[in-house]
């Protein structure tokens, strides 16, 4: 590859595709009316801002609140009302509080419909690694991630398609310690949407101006082309139109 081509390639990997807000917004399209949803820390938290109008969604936070609302005003602030990321939140009318045993019964007992999490690596079988790089000097910390992936009905992952250095995060096998085996249902990256199926990873939708071949080049496993099975172009237009309208 020539120097020019390398530079173009680098520019391409850093500037094209969906940004963080758009990834969250694309994921939000798939949160159905009436869902009970748990959102992980980081980009997943942004999903709540983009759930389409008209859908009533109840947010669960594992430290004991169903019906989590927005950040509090100064008057509403209460240090005893926080989310799993230990940020101050509010409770919506109709919310409920409960202890950790009940909160994780909701999770482990398959009562929560959707959980959206970040990822370090995802395997072709849907294994997820998102809590530890396995580094010897790191302080291991797992929180509720293993419980969420083991118990929530549908697991959505929002992640950059590759690492900052361009290495694939979607791999034949995770090399980092696992959070759970065969737990991921769908991946929303900056480049595309991928379903994890019995037959393998199926690319069902592309971000604007991204090609199947480009995604394949940046993925560690062979992808199945599922684009024809879905009216992805219309979806793309919807996503981007809505996004622009909100800016």
């Amino acid at each position: 590859m020539s120097q020019v081509a390398k530079k173009q390639n680098l520019a391409a990997t850093t500037k094209i595709g969906w940004n963080r807000e758009q990834m969250a917004q694309r994921c939000a399209q798939d949160i159905e009316d009436g869902s009970y949803v748990n959102l992980g820390i980081g980009i997943p938290e942004k999903v709540a801002q983009y759930v389409p109008d008209g859908r009533e969604v109840i947010y669960h936070t594992e430290n004991g609140l169903l019906g989590m609302g927005n950040s509090p005003s100064d008057e509403e602030f209460d240090a005893d009302l926080i989310n799993a990321g230990k940020k101050a939140v509010t409770a919506i009318p109709g919310a409920s509080y409960f202890h950790h045993g009940d909160s994780f019964a909701m999770i482990r007992g398959n009562h929560i419909d959707v959980c959206v999490l970040g990822a370090m690596q995802v395997s072709m079988k849907g294994d997820l690694a998102n809590w530890s790089t396995g580094a010897v000097d790191a302080i291991p910390a797992v929180g509720g991630a293993m419980d969420l992936v083991a118990g929530v009905k549908t697991i959505y992952i929002i992640t950059q398609h590759t690492t900052k250095t361009g290495a694939a995060k979607i791999l034949p096998e995770c090399t980092f310690p696992l959070t759970g085996q065969k737990v991921v249902n769908r991946i929303y990256s900056d480049l595309c949407v991928i379903d994890v199926t019995e037959n393998g990873l199926v690319l069902i939708e592309l971000a604007p101006d991204i090609s199947f071949d480009y995604v394949q080049e940046h993925t560690g496993v062979a992808l199945l082309n599922g684009l024809s099975k879905k009216s992805n172009i219309a979806d793309n237009q919807l996503v981007n139109t809505t996004y622009k309208a909100q800016q």
């Binding site: 240090a79 926080i82 230990k86 202890h99 910390a141 797992v142 293993m146 696992l178």
Partner: protein, 256 residues
């Protein structure tokens, strides 16, 4: 007559012995019984196993208990937060043991311990390093890992209201681990914002029935961990006499 009120945080923790297992309520600072923890620091019991979701922040509360060398082992799910200074250093130098447990498994182990259940099976952690060495069992086609119930000699928790029978209510997400820890400990010590007369708490709204509670201490204006951290306060206060005092730290404690 049943009256579980005791004179002070200091008298409440007086029977905690070296080597005891102590559950401490709280998720981050929400629900952290900071006055009881400071009394345990004053008391000085050592070689403790402490069960809490985290490892505290700054140099007050749970972090101060750890820094004071009283904790031999932490059982927790997330031993680092934005302001955790103490635990990482001790862990890296091999001075404290860590048993890392997924948060829901931690909660269920505590709940099971309190409910007389010695072990249970869960899908959580199957296929991960945290299931290593544990018994696996297949039920209806899926693998589950066996986890053991957890009990403790003492639980230190924080509640919003209590009557003298020990019936408790909590404030919002400060409830978190407190009700299940109250069940799992032989001696449950509660710092409560407000003592009320019998009959004031609607039985329909009691969260922890008094049978799970052993001692109550009214602390009407508890310290807020994040504020202490922000103000650069340490505990015990002698470490930094210029910026704080014992009276300041304990000003919220009012003997019942």
């Amino acid at each position: 007559m049943i009256d579980k009120r005791v004179a002070s945080c200091v008298s409440a923790v007086a029977n905690i012995k070296d080597g005891d297992t102590v559950m401490i309520g709280g998720f981050g600072e929400a629900g952290s019984p900071i006055e009881l923890i400071h009394a345990l620091i004053d008391h000085g019991a050592k070689n403790l196993t402490v069960i809490n979701n985290n490892t505290g922040s700054g140099r007050v509360g749970l972090a101060a208990l750890i820094e004071n060398g009283q904790v031999a082992k932490m059982i927790c799910s997330y031993p680092r937060t934005a302001n955790s200074l103490v635990f990482p250093e001790l862990y890296r130098s091999g001075k404290i043991e860590l048993e890392l447990v997924p948060q829901g498994t931690l909660a269920e182990r505590i709940r099971a311990g309190g409910a007389g259940i010695p072990a249970f099976f869960t899908k959580t952690s199957v296929g991960t390093p945290l299931a290593a060495g544990k018994e696996l069992r297949n039920f209806e086609g899926d693998d589950y890992v066996m986890e053991r119930g957890l009990k403790a000699d003492f639980a230190l928790i924080k509640a919003k209201q209590a009557d003298r029978y020990g019936n408790l209510t909590y404030n919002k997400t400060a409830r978190n681990f407190a009700p299940i820890m109250a069940m799992a400990a032989t001696n449950t010590l509660v710092q409560v914002n407000e003592m009320v007369e019998l009959g004031v708490l609607d039985p329909e709204n009691v969260i922890t029935p008094g049978i799970f509670v052993n001692a109550l201490i009214e602390v009407t204006q508890p310290q807020q961990e994040s504020q202490l951290v922000k103000d650069g306060i340490t505990y015990p206060p002698t470490k930094n006499p210029a910026t704080n005092s014992l009276e300041k730290i304990n000003s919220g404690a009012t003997p019942a």
